[in-house]
Amino acid sequence: MTAIKATENHEPCLFSELYTCYYQVVARILTKAARHPLSRRQIEDLAKEHGYDESALLLVPRLIRGDWPFLEKVSPDTYASRLKYPPFPQVLTRLQRSWLKALLSDPRIRLFFTDEELSSFEKLFSDVPPLYRTSDFCFFDQYKDHDPFSSVMYREHMQTILSAICERRFLSVSYLSRKENILAHTWLPCRLEYGQRDGKFRLYAMAVRKDGRQRMDVLNVARILSVKKTGSLYPSFVDVDSFLDHDLSEEPLVLEISTERNALERAMLHFSCYQKQVERLKDSNTYRCTIYYDRRWETELLIQVLSFGPVVKVLGPEAFLKQVQERVARQALLMDLPSHLSGSDEW
């Protein structure tokens, strides 16, 4: 049997100098320095903005000293780029092209391109091998009712939304609410959120009331019945996160996690997508985990916590704990009561 170490098999390498952060910082600096000479301070600021926290300390002296020969001194304290062409956009590597090729087998790719564009894309990458095959993966616990990515109407809606987001253009939307009411309204589309679990796109869209007050609504793209661009543009970028900050729970969820049944490891990974803090409790085999969460997703979080059973215990906040206690109380009654009582025809 011949053994080949996978990384020695002349395949493209993921961990390569070509993708290093420093190269990108230098490219950013040279782009600016091609427009107008930069002072050392300006170069340092760019290194801090685009690099790691300590990158400027290493990177800037090398550029200034000429160890990396891309800048020339044009005045006592300003430097211009020696390059003849702008560094962006750069040529893609074989690895990057094969990743793009792999996307072509994903049904969601059609949401971003017209048929004509997609066919140019496919032609351009016809001789590139895909990095992976979508069929090699199985998302075994993804919800069944994901968005209809292959639907013609859904694709048209997504493309209208994407175009309007880029233009900051208001959309006239007809929407089927959760309560099955049809709402017609004008919204400014700001951001799309994709849920990996449910395979759904949600549109964060700003509604402006007559008195000028603004509100951020969340629309399920699959529930949009019709969408049309309006003639109105919004003048500035909308900071969606500042709206969402209002939805953060005032008190974090506090959990006590035991180490039984590998619960710590399971819970830490499960809740890793939340902002959290974990501490080891002294003289016990338990850990306290504090999770900061969005109130809109509280029920979902509650269900997740319940799925761990007794190895994860809710300590607070009071309202959250009460919900758990109520559910456990109901469950205790359901289990303790004889089946003919709990399942009586009075239900």
Binding site: A6, S16, W68, V91, I109, L124, R197, K313, L333
Partner: protein, 431 residues
């Protein structure tokens, strides 16, 4: 003693540190026994630098824990990708990366000698011809340059950048890459494409995104390569509980991704047991490709035949001869609690649902390892009227867990609920 550097030579050295800082976050310097304290200090400093916006510290007495904390649904790009962008390089590496790209950007092919001369003339830099040759060969291998023979010499030419060559695709490609860098396998590569084009993801966010997966990408690439070539492999795995390391010879068949648990697995046919097994990707330390497996298509068919009876990733042990059946009855107030029925349908992975009484539905699922269903079943706590399983151990575990939950949460209040009120609670509106 070598001086501290922000960049690193080998990714696998940092993988477990990033994981511990991000997933656990409570570990202190003393918990990192495997290497010296100085190694820990250097890695901690690197991570403070790479992830400066998300690093926090906590003091517990004299002990300090440093951890990474962030809300993944607010992130335009996975911050852990930064770890992939930390490879060291030499002065020659960076100089020739920019100078060769700039020189050849006009599209004219040039010989090696011509290139060396022009670099000296135009940028006042002198490089050894061998150094330039090696770099050009590297760029050619990476697909950044083309080489063709003309007469007795090779000419090198840059490939035009995609957005410049096809401006009509520029906007849709940017949006497409912005999205897929957050959801597709190897999203890190997508983020480097944004870097290469000087772009950022402005309009997409990702909910319930397990950022940690990126740390397994090198292993994943090797596994996919083996699957594509239908090879057997030897994997070195370290148990998450035992921390023991072992080697297994397997035929890789599928990558199973849990969108709810944050875990990814390799499903493979194990040579020693002749059974299908799942291995967590984060437990795989190394992959060695072996010869092609002549029965590869047979094992794939075997997987396809058996997977519909698997709830998650467990194909059961040799002791499980028969599939197990789980049945539960769920109570809900119709029609206002129709969402519970929706949950059963969309999350039930093909289980059968039928009404058994007004407001009571029975859910039944046959699977290889019923214990895997328990977390999902428990998420319906408060509504489960009946639970049974053909595996008595699973039924016992469920009952015990419910008893423990009762002991954990209810002792003070259960006795306070009068029996009459209990009935109304059962029928009452649940949030």
């Amino acid at each position: 003693m070598s001086e501290y550097k922000e960049l690193i030579r080998q990714f696998d050295k940092i993988r477990s540190y990033v994981r511990d800082f991000y997933v656990y976050g409570f570990k202190t310097r003393e918990d990192f026994h495997e290497k010296s304290g100085r190694t820990y200090d250097n890695h901690r400093r690197r991570m403070e630098s790479w992830f400066s916006d998300y690093i926090r510290t906590d003091r517990n007495g004299h002990k300090k824990s440093v951890f990474l904390t962030l809300d993944s649904s607010r992130m335009p790009v996975n911050p852990l990708y930064q770890a992939w962008k930390s490879k060291t390089f030499t002065d020659n590496d960076i100089s020739l990366r920019f100078l060769l790209s700039d020189l050849l950007a006009d599209g004219r092919p040039r010989s090696l000698e011509r290139i060396a001369d022009e670099i000296q003339e135009q940028y006042c830099c002198l490089f050894d011809t061998q150094t330039i040759r090696r770099k050009l060969a590297f760029f050619e291998k990476e697909g950044l340059m083309e080489r063709k023979k003309e007469g007795r010499q090779y000419l090198y030419r840059a490939i035009p950048a995609l957005p410049l060559a096809h401006p009509e695709l520029s906007l849709p490609l940017w949006l497409c890459v912005s999205f897929f860098q957050g959801v597709a396998p190897f999203g890190f590569i997508g983020s480097t494409i944004l870097d290469f084009w000087g772009k950022k993801n402005k309009y997409f966010r990702f909910r319930s995104d397990y950022l940690i997966h990126t740390l397994e990408d090198e292993i994943l690439l090797s596994l996919l390569q083996a699957m594509e070539q239908k090879r057997q492999i030897t994997i070195t795995i370290t148990g998450s509980k035992s921390h023991r390391t072992a080697a297994r010879t397997v035929t890789p068949l599928k990558i199973l991704t849990g969108t709810q648990t944050g875990r990814r697995y390799l499903c493979a046919r194990q040579e020693s047991t002749r059974r299908l097994s799942s291995f967590r990707l984060d437990s795989i330390r190394d992959v060695k490709l072996l010869d092609p497996d002549s029965n590869y298509d047979t094992w794939q068919k075997h997987f396809r035949d058996h997977f519909p009876q698997v709830w998650g990733v467990s194909f059961g042990g040799p002791e499980r001869k028969q599939p197990e059946t789980v049945t539960m009855e769920i109570c809900l107030n119709e029609p206002e609690e129709g969402f519970i029925l929706n949950r059963l349908e969309r999350e039930g992975r093909g289980g059968a649902i039928r009404p058994v009484a007004p407001g009571v539905y029975e859910y039944t699922r046959v699977c290889v390892d019923a214990a895997e269903l328990l977390p999902w079943i428990k998420s319906f706590t408060g509504r489960i009227r009946r639970f049974s399983c053909t595996n008595p151990a699973v039924e016992k575990r469920f009952r015990e867990d419910m008893e423990l939950m009762k002991a954990c949460y209810l002792q003070p209040i259960s006795s306070a609920i009068p029996r009459l009120q209990a009935f109304s609670l059962i029928r009452g509106d649940m949030p």
